[in-house]
């Protein structure tokens, strides 16, 4: 995927700031955050890799759209963890006793019902001990941890009151096309 212009601009700005300011300065920190900002999917629509819905992916070839408690449910192409649908929650809601993470990682999955590619925000539910049911691992275009916006190994309870991992959900954001 082509890098966004804002990425390049932010990086250039940070380098300039880093060259002129002390490392501890608040502005240098701001510069770092500007560059790092795309890693946190406040506007995930821009960050997802749009899969080629025409060719599909190895995951999408086996995906189905009727059972969200199964690992091959189409939205789970990039999920890693216990399905909230098996833990008292749903594909887009946390089970009682847990709370959704404010941050998420992003994937784009193909819905077999309409062959369209949709953006999915994977959010961890935090605060209750691990659900330990329906453990799934979707690695379709999942990225290493140094590219965190599409990494499913980070415990995404960042910003929640607790880091205790309970389960993961796959919230539909919109079309990726």
């Amino acid at each position: 995927m082509k890098r966004l212009g804002v990425d390049n601009w932010g990086e250039r700005l940070t380098r300039r700031l880093a060259g002129r300011l002390s490392r501890r300065s608040a502005l240098a920190r701001l510069g770092a955050l500007l560059v790092a900002a795309p890693a946190f999917p406040l506007l995930p629509v821009q960050r997802a890799r749009a899969a080629d819905a025409g060719n599909g992916t190895d995951f999408s070839r086996e995906a189905q759209a009727h059972d969200d408690t199964a690992c091959n449910y189409w939205r789970y192409c990039g999920i890693d963890g216990n399905l909230c649908s098996c833990c008292g929650g749903s594909v887009h809601s946390c089970p009682p006793g847990s709370q959704p993470s404010p941050t998420s990682w992003i994937g784009s999955c193909i819905n077999p019902a309409d062959q369209r590619s949709y953006l999915i925000a994977y959010r961890d539910c935090c605060g209750a001990s691990i659900c330990n049911k329906c453990s799934c691992l979707g690695t379709d275009h999942a990225m290493p941890i140094y590219r965190p916006q599409a990494n499913n190994h980070v415990i995404w309870c960042i910003g929640a009151n607790t880091f205790e991992y309970h389960c993961s959900m796959a919230v539909l954001v919109g079309l990726a096309e």
Binding site: E11, A36, T57, D58, D80, A128, N132, M143, Y146, F163
Partner: protein, 393 residues
């Protein structure tokens, strides 16, 4: 037939009677056994890691956390050190001091967060204190989230708060030195006396080292892989002493990089081509032998041998457990061996001595293999593993 049996029975009874008489006579002439002595509870001494020990942490949430030490020659647990979930760890070059990077909350699942580097050592591997850290990465276990300089003087802890940075710790003075921001990058691969490199989200390498004033300067050393189509895996291997990293991609391309202020990038080579096969591609439906697993590779610098867990799978199957271990000569780019793994394994480690053991771990089993022949020597049940380490030489 019946008479014969009866006859044998009679002679057998006689033999027992005679034997009993003999035993009574012997007991009468012998002193009573001594009363067992009272004992004092203690701790089995820890002599330090031996060359054939394996150390592993538990996979978070699937097993009680802790750093477990196994004797590879006996397939036996010899000790455990407490840790939080999502901990990283590293051993000092003295093979006796253990550093654990970990995080706690005052009320268990909530409250005040404390990120610390805990230190264990001494004759009983006991806690020797903590160094407070400004933050940490909390994720599934990552080998290169916490690492030491080759001489053990400095520790580098990758932090994701969520802005990425590296905490530099002076382990001799046992204090935090500084926090180095690495925008858009992650993980730590130490080199030289005080330098470290990180992989970046655009396929570049970031290099950080101290300037004449003792301050860290970070710069990008250029893109060397295609992050969108064939990224370098987190669990690539590195020889900190030589400053050599072997960055391995999802499709099995090995990028040797000599880490330094001015890193030197060697031409990448394909694991599959080294085996006489076509390189794997990212094309949908392309089934190839591919590297994969959790800690999917191990490196032995003395012999330049690379051990890689391999499976037959489609693109983006890089977390699939390996059914074989491929042994590669990284100098000649040649496959030396293909060894089957009992069942399949997600983690691999190799000892660094002249008669190496090769460890292959699944979710519940550890297999100990001969590092030269691939023969399975022994096996033991384990808790689901997160990270593995052996003694460095």
């Amino acid at each position: 037939m019946k008479q014969l049996v009866r006859g044998r029975g009679a002679s057998g009874i006689a033999a027992v009677l005679l034997s009993s008489v003999g035993c009574l006579a012997a007991a009468a002439g012998r002193a009573a056994p001594p009363v067992l002595q009272s004992e004092t509870a203690g701790i089995t001494p820890f002599q330090g890691l031996t060359p054939h020990d394996l150390v592993y942490s538990a996979m978070d949430a699937l097993a009680p956390p802790g750093i477990r030490i196994l004797d590879g020659d006996k397939a036996k647990l010899i000790g455990t050190v407490y840790s939080s979930q999502y901990a990283g760890f590293a051993w000092a070059p003295d093979h006796k001091t253990l550093y654990v990077s970990e995080t706690y909350w005052t009320l268990g699942n909530r409250g005040k967060r404390e990120d610390v580097l805990s230190i264990y050592g001494g004759p009983t591997l006991s806690n020797e204190g903590e160094i407070t850290l400004p933050g940490r990465l909390i994720s599934d276990p990552k080998t290169h989230a916490f690492a030491l300089s080759a001489d053990g003087h400095y520790g580098y802890d990758y932090s994701f708060q969520p802005a990425p940075s590296v905490s530099v710790i002076d382990l001799k003075q046992r204090k935090l030195l500084t926090s180095v921001e690495i925008p858009g990058c992650g993980l730590v691969f130490p080199f030289g006396e005080r330098g470290f490199a990180s992989l970046c989200a655009d396929g570049a390498l970031a290099v950080a080292d101290v300037d004449a004033g003792g301050r860290y300067v970070v710069r990008r050393a250029g893109r060397f892989f295609d992050v969108m189509n064939d990224p370098v895996m987190d669990e690539s291997v590195a020889d900190t002493r030589e400053g050599l990293a072997l960055f391995i991609t999802y499709n099995g391309w090995v990028h040797p990089v000599h880490l330094a202020d001015r890193p030197r990038f060697e031409k990448p080579w394909s694991i599959q081509q080294a085996a006489g096969l076509s390189p794997a591609t990212s094309q949908v439906g392309a089934i190839n032998w591919r590297p994969g697993g959790q800690v999917f590779a191990a490196y032995q610098p003395a012999t330049a041998r690379l051990f890689v867990l391999m499976h037959e799978g489609h693109p983006w199957s890089n977390e699939q457990a390996g059914t074989q271990i491929w042994v590669l000569d990284t100098r000649g780019h040649k496959l030396l061996h293909r060894w089957d793994v009992p069942e399949s394994a997600s983690l691999v480690a190799v000892t660094q001595d002249a008669h190496p053991l090769l460890f292959a771990l699944s979710e519940s089993w550890l297999w100990v293999l001969d590092g030269d022949s691939g023969a399975v020597l022994r096996a033991m049940q384990i808790v689901p593993p997160g990270l593995v380490q052996v003694r460095g030489e």
